[in-house]
């Protein structure tokens, strides 16, 4: 496939082919990488076990065979080297996609993200930049204990200098990853691992991207805005369904991008419904949704008929045995909505 320069620009949504296929979220990730590697020889992929093994979740299965060891390679077990090397490559003109095996293991690479990835453009007066993507499975629900279940996206939203996204459908997973790879900025791309195979959906056969920073309305409604992203989205939809059986009309918004996030979409929705319930599975304190709540009260205060509610994870390290109790499921979301509606 050949594409014009315009088509590579972030956010350029292609139209044309009518055909779609149904794939899983993890297939969407693999396809996005493969297509971008096909189209742009600057794109390289590396990380722990991404090559012959195809990644521990098989997100990169077959890519080394297809693109060779020069473009798809295993790295020594060092997240600092993975992230740091990606910065150096990006500065020198490549488009690295760095896989971190689990979001819980970014730790050793955190300083590289904080000190290099997020700041090089700013501190060099725009002379250097690091257009790279850090992909990593995150979130709970897989009985993985704290080292395989955390949701650290808020740390990165707090950093200034990186963009942060988290899809919940195959369509978004593919479109957002393509946009991230084409982006001139570093993007933290969190993959909700419990949806890897659970989320199935249609993607078009033609090339498309999903613009970073744009949320989407998953379900229209007029009584309450239910806002989330990533692994919790199916629970939001379930909750909305349950409430609709009770005659409540819930608008469900998937942020998709955490930074920058779609303020107009959220504000318009809250202005319409007058109520907002924000859902994420990350621990409550300093959770990014706190920022969303702040902006709603600052800019849509007059529309509010109830306080903005938050459903979040607890402020504890993610526990192993209580995996399911920890996560905000549909019931907990419904309860928060009912409380907000009855305020």
């Amino acid at each position: 496939m050949t594409a014009t320069k315009e088509q590579y620009q972030e956010g350029a949504v292609q139209s044309g082919g009518e055909q779609t296929r149904t794939i899983t979220l993890i297939q969407a990730v693999t396809e996005a990488i493969a297509e971008e590697m096909e189209q742009d020889s600057r794109v390289v992929l590396f990380g722990e076990d991404v090559g012959a093994r195809g990644g521990v979740f098989m997100a990169t299965a077959g890519l080394q065979e297809r693109f060779g060891k020069k473009r798809v390679f295993d790295s020594p077990l060092s997240e600092a080297s993975i992230v740091g090397a990606a910065v150096g490559m990006a500065v020198r003109g490549l488009r690295p996609i760095a896989e971190i095996q689990f979001a819980d293991y970014i730790g050793p690479g955190f300083d590289q993200i904080l000190s290099q990835v997020a700041k090089i453009r700013y501190r060099s007066g725009g002379q250097f930049s690091a257009p790279l993507v850090i992909r990593t499975p995150s979130g709970g629900g897989v009985k993985g204990g704290h080292h395989h279940s955390q949701s650290p996206e808020s740390y990165y939203a707090h950093m200034a200098g990186v963009k942060v996204v988290m899809p919940s459908t195959p369509y978004d997973a593919k479109g957002l990853l393509k946009a991230a790879i084409r982006s001139e900025d570093p993007v933290m791309y969190f993959e909700p691992k419990r949806l890897y195979r659970a989320a199935k959906g249609e993607v078009p056969n033609h090339d498309y991207t999903v613009k970073i920073g744009e949320g989407v309305i998953r379900r229209e409604g007029s009584d309450l805005s239910l806002i989330g992203y990533g692994g919790v989205m199916p629970d939001l939809l379930k909750a909305a369904e349950a409430l609709s059986a009770e005659g409540v009309s819930v608008e469900v918004i998937d942020l998709r991008s955490i930074l920058p996030w779609d303020r107009p979409l959220v504000l318009q929705s809250v202005e319409k419904t007058g109520r907002a319930v924000l859902v994420s599975e990350a621990p409550r304190t300093a959770n990014f949704m706190g920022e969303v709540a702040y902006v709603i009260q600052e800019q849509a205060f007059d529309s509010l008929t109830a306080p903005v509610a938050q459903v979040a994870g607890f402020d504890i390290p993610y526990p192993y045995v209580q995996d399911k109790v920890y996560l905000p499921g549909a019931n907990r979301i419904v309860a928060a909505c009912v409380k907000t509606l009855n305020y």
């Binding site: 722990e48 076990d49 090559g51 012959a52 093994r53 195809g54 521990v56 295993d74 020594p76 077990l77 060092s78 997240e79 600092a80 080297s81 819980d104 293991y105 730790g107 050793p108 009985k143 993985g144 204990g145 704290h146 080292h147 395989h148 409550r284 304190t285 607890f314 402020d315 504890i316 390290p317 526990p319 192993y320 045995v321 209580q322 109790v325 920890y326 019931n331 907990r332 309860a335 409380k339």
Partner: protein, 369 residues
């Protein structure tokens, strides 16, 4: 005298059971039988736990099959419950050899109420205060700087304890590994670093993990001795680890031992198809031929004290009984209540956690909130 920085791994017994040098006197047939029994028990423990996993009673397991000589040999160089251990996740055999009861390990494995880690860790990420066996962190090499710190404290406090820190070959690529080894080295802290080099870090062979000839040689850069040993030869492991531990205990500072061994099974149950993706059956078979348990059996045979089939069966059956009883006993203690989620986050319960606990209590007991 045991020399550091050898190019070939230090060995006392060949894979076919032939001694390559005179064996120190302490290796009597009784001791060898004891070591053999412990290794066989560990092997069967792995087998049993994989069965439990297949029965859906747990979700994760990382075997140590093939690495018994390394972990048990190392344990024999330590004073159990006196010296400290900062282990990594594959060290259940080391824990067993130090005396951690199977019941304790099983409780953690199943996340029952009897679990000393209170159901918070992944299965088999053990911790035991009683055995100075620090809590396993899954995050690779994150135990290395803390181990240096424990050793610095031991020196500061004037104890005669030492600290042992274990890790795989993959861990030596992490910055934490280098930072921790350096920290212990410059402080001349009594820290024994032991690499259980089973050659694979999931799908990465150690050849691709590093370009130095081995791990032991890296010790040179930090100014400490590095010993390279055949990790499937329990006598070699015991001799070298004891020598290094004594050197460390004598106040000379830190040391590094690399045990060259092999992970015969998969990385974990999540990687059950290793041979399909990254390694060959031939390689596995070659290393099965260097099995540490078979090696001691061959040596005992040569010494005229063979392990009989009945003895073998006895050990295996005793292990299964031990595990079965521990499982029943552990499961009988039930699953930890959700309430304990909020404990141990801090030494006390701050207000925001008190509120979150109250919220969950209302939800779990069906009360409106």
């Amino acid at each position: 005298m045991i020399e550091p920085f050898t190019t070939q791994p230090i060995r006392y017994v060949d894979p076919d059971g032939t001694p390559t040098q005179a064996l120190p006197e302490k290796y009597t047939p009784e001791l060898l039988r004891d070591l053999h029994a412990q290794m066989l028990r560990a092997r069967e423990f792995d087998r049993k736990l994989i069965t439990l996993l297949r029965q859906g009673r747990s979700t994760f397991y990382a075997q140590a099959s093939g690495m018994e000589a390394t972990q048990i040999g190392l344990a024999r160089s330590l004073r159990a419950g006196h010296d400290w251990v900062w282990p990594y996740y594959r060290d259940h055999v080391l824990g067993m050899a130090l005396g951690i009861p199977v019941f304790e390990l099983l409780s953690q494995y199943l996340g029952t109420n009897s679990d000393t880690s209170r159901g918070r860790q992944m299965p088999h990420h053990f911790a035991s205060k009683r055995f100075n066996f620090a809590s396993v962190s899954s995050s690779i090499a994150s135990q290395v700087p803390p181990a240096a710190g424990t050793a610095i404290a031991q020196k500061y406090l004037g104890t005669d304890e030492i600290t042992v820190c274990t890790f795989g070959d993959g861990a030596t690529s992490e910055g934490d590994w280098h930072a921790g080894v350096n920290m212990a080295a410059v402080n001349k802290a009594p820290c024994l670093f032991v690499c259980e080099n089973n050659q694979w870090a999931i799908s990465m062979h150690s050849r691709d993990q590093m370009s130095s000839e081995n791990v032991a040689i890296k010790a040179r850069a930090y100014g400490i001795p590095g010993f390279y040993v055949d990790g499937n030869d329990i006598i070699a492991v015991m001799e070298v680890c004891t020598h290094a531990a004594e050197w460390v205990r004598a106040g000379h500072g830190a040391a590094l031992v690399e045990c060259l061994t092999y992970r015969v099974g998969s990385h974990s149950n999540a990687d059950a198809d290793a041979e399909k993706f990254y390694r060959t059956r031939d390689e596995v078979n070659e290393w099965l031929g260097r099995d540490p348990i078979a090696r001691v059996e061959a040596l005992l045979e040569r010494l005229g004290h063979p392990v009989t089939p009945e003895e073998r069966t006895g050990i295996i059956e005793a292990t299964y009984r031990e595990v079965d009883e521990a499982v029943l006993k552990a499961e009988a203690t039930g699953e930890p209540d959700w309430r304990i989620m909020f404990e141990d986050v801090y030494s006390d319960l701050p207000d925001h956690l008190r509120e979150q606990e109250a919220f969950l209590r209302a939800e779990q007991t069906g009360g409106a909130q």
